[in-house]
């Protein structure tokens, strides 16, 4: 696997050089400047000024409804800003999407879906190209290469995420964690500069969370891919994080873990008394209001789940 990563890194270095030449600047991966978004008549967040450097691992945190997915969608250009500026890899949002790998929120395939994992991954490579992949046409440079090179790339990235054993099986038969890895492979296959992952750890058990977090961390570190990962719990990511963006109350706070996840910062953000406790092994526990309101629409109960595993 180390060989894969080294090969990967070399390829990305080469591409990054040309990417830099193309964009002409080493600018931030994502830059928001006093940005605001309204969805369905409601302002989700405003006055957000956040900058993410290339190659950084950033966690996007916040409670449900705070607009984390919305921010990802804005970065992808799927949602327009109602105020402020946003540039992604030096360009307006949406233009650089071919160099962005995206893992949307929790898709799980029908149990009977017969498409193989490796077909799903292959789609990430050239699924957006019209026409059929005819092997005898001249190979194009860069991603989207045809024939054996494409196949090799797909195999390479599947091995990188550790899914080689089950990639040939119908994806409907794979477990949640396995499907997640395959979808990460799909996001990685065209060697993106930036990875956007929307709650990738959400439906996984603790061992799988740790494994996927480690995988993403390794990819970020060794291949220089920037990662913006939406999560509910920062703890599996602590070892790999560079910075944190915390969304709450329609505003955002950005900084290192030590700066942001403190009682003082979070209390100011929420406008409510919030305490952050540190366990002996470094894990962080956020303690908020005694009661969540009745309409709190959590999809499943993280709290008890984590409580059960915490000890």
């Amino acid at each position: 696997m180390l060989l894969c990563v080294m090969h990967w890194r070399r390829a990305v270095d080469q591409r990054q050089m040309s990417a830099t030449e193309r964009s002409g600047a080493e600018g931030p991966a994502i830059e928001l400047d006093r940005a605001a978004v309204r969805v369905g008549g409601r302002t989700v967040w405003e006055d957000v000024s956040v900058s993410m450097a290339r190659g950084d691992f950033v966690a996007l945190l916040g409670a449900n409804g705070s607009g984390k997915s919305t921010l990802l969608k804005a970065v992808l250009g799927a949602l327009p800003l109602t105020a402020g500026r946003l540039s992604v890899l030096g360009r307006p949002p949406g233009e650089a999407n071919r160099t962005i790998g995206y893992l949307p929120q929790r898709r799980s395939f029908d149990q009977g879906t017969r498409l193989r994992g490796l077909d799903v991954v292959r789609l990430g490579l050239d699924g957006d190209r019209w026409g059929l992949p005819l092997p005898f046409l001249p190979a194009r440079r860069g991603p989207g290469a045809r024939g054996p090179k494409a196949r090799a790339r797909v195999d390479e990235v599947i091995e990188l995420v550790g899914a080689s054993e089950y990639a040939g099986r119908p994806i409907g038969e794979c477990s949640g964690g396995e499907q997640q890895r395959l979808l990460i492979a799909q996001a990685l296959v065209q060697r993106p500069d930036l990875l956007l992952l929307d709650e990738p750890l959400d439906s996984l058990d603790l061992p799988n969370q740790a494994a996927v977090a480690a995988l993403v961390g390794e990819i970020c570190r060794d291949a220089g891919v920037g990662v913006l990962l939406v999560a509910h719990d920062v703890n599996p990511l602590l070892a790999y994080l560079d910075r944190v963006v915390y969304l709450a109350g329609g505003r955002a706070v950005e900084g290192t873990v030590q700066e942001v996840i403190t009682g003082k910062t979070l209390s100011a953000l929420y406008g409510l008394p919030v305490e952050v406790l540190k366990a002996s092994d470094g894990r962080l526990v956020v303690v908020g209001q005694p009661e969540a309101p009745a309409h709190h629409h959590d999809r499943h109960d993280h709290h008890d789940h984590h409580h059960a595993h915490a000890s």
Binding site: R42, G65, D110, G112, G250, V285, V287, A292, A310
Partner: protein, 305 residues
């Protein structure tokens, strides 16, 4: 019979005129019974999202009728055998959670195509003409005998008793198959049992109302009611009410017109459906704007950051 019945604005007189004739009374009775049965069974069918299966089962009447004609047995046997067999085939080969919807729907489609292919074969072998298509599709409301009404009532009563008995576990299994299964509900068998019930209901009623009309009465009132409200009791009542209204109106109007009752019934039912969807859509959009913006939840307790 009046030489040329015409619809006037005097509703009382029109209704009275219609009810003068025994065949119309029978038609109305039969239609009402069908509306009730199709409404209730169809409600469950729409809830379980088995509309495609329901349509396929109603199409089974075609080989049923033509097969029976070929062998020389009463059409009724053909209807029941084919609809029942179709229900078993669908239940056996396209049921179960391990099959994706794409596979299930492909199987149901294959079953339907096969049934129609066989039906066409029977017609050809029998040498019969397909001129009876109109009555096959839309039935012969106007030729309903007293005996037929009684049989219809009896079958309906039986079907509703069975449905009533199955209703609660079936509802449970429809909404949450995993939990129901864990609680001991025989989900798979119930599924098949419901399909058989659906098949038999279709077999009986389509002999009078025709294949297409029974399906229209299965789907449209229930779809309308469930689009309007999610409360089961209310939507059940609505389904039956809508079914009765469109049947009466359709039969009544068709008396004065040269066009078949089936057309009017489906047209009225569809009109009500569209109106309901539009109203619900407009109201739903309106209330979303008026709703206060959903407040963000405070930081959750526990280990989460």
């Amino acid at each position: 019979m009046q030489a040329d019945p015409t619809l006037t604005w005097n509703v009382g007189r029109d209704v009275g005129e219609v009810l003068e004739y025994h065949f119309m009374v029978n038609a109305l009775l039969a239609g009402s019974i069908v509306a009730v049965m199709a409404g209730l069974v169809g409600w469950m069918m729409v809830l379980r999202r088995e509309t495609f299966a329901g349509h396929t089962l109603s199409m089974m009447a075609f080989p049923g009728a033509s097969g029976a004609a070929l062998i020389g047995v009463p059409a009724t046997w053909g209807y029941f055998v084919f609809c029942g067999a179709g229900a078993l085939a669908i239940g056996r080969f396209s049921g179960g959670k391990s099959r994706s919807w794409s596979e299930q729907s492909a199987t149901i489609g294959a079953v339907q195509a096969l049934a129609l292919a066989l039906g066409f074969l029977f017609v050809n072998l029998y040498g019969g003409v397909l001129g009876g298509l109109d009555s096959l599709l839309f039935g012969t409301f106007l030729g309903v005998s007293d005996g037929q009404v009684l049989v219809l009532a009896a079958v309906t009563a039986g079907a509703l008793v069975v449905l009533g008995g199955l209703a609660r576990p079936l509802l449970f299994a429809s909404v949450d198959a995993d939990v129901a299964g864990a609680r001991g509900v025989p989900v798979r068998s119930l599924s098949t049992a419901f399909l058989v019930l659906l098949g038999l209901a279709v077999a009986e009623t389509s002999q009078i109302t025709g294949v297409l009309l029974v399906f229209a009465l299965l789907v449209t009132p229930a779809a309308t009611a469930q689009a309007i409200t999610a409360r089961p009791g209310l939507s059940l009542w609505l389904t039956v009410a809508i079914g009765l209204v469109v049947v009466w109106a359709g039969l009544g109007v068709s008396y004065f017109s040269v066009y078949p009752a089936g057309f009017f019934i489906t047209a009225f039912a569809f009109a009500i459906y569209v109106i309901a969807r539009v109203i619900v859509g407009v109201l739903g959009g309106r209330s979303a704007d008026l709703k206060a913006p959903a407040p963000e939840s405070p930081p959750p307790r526990g280990v989460i950051a």
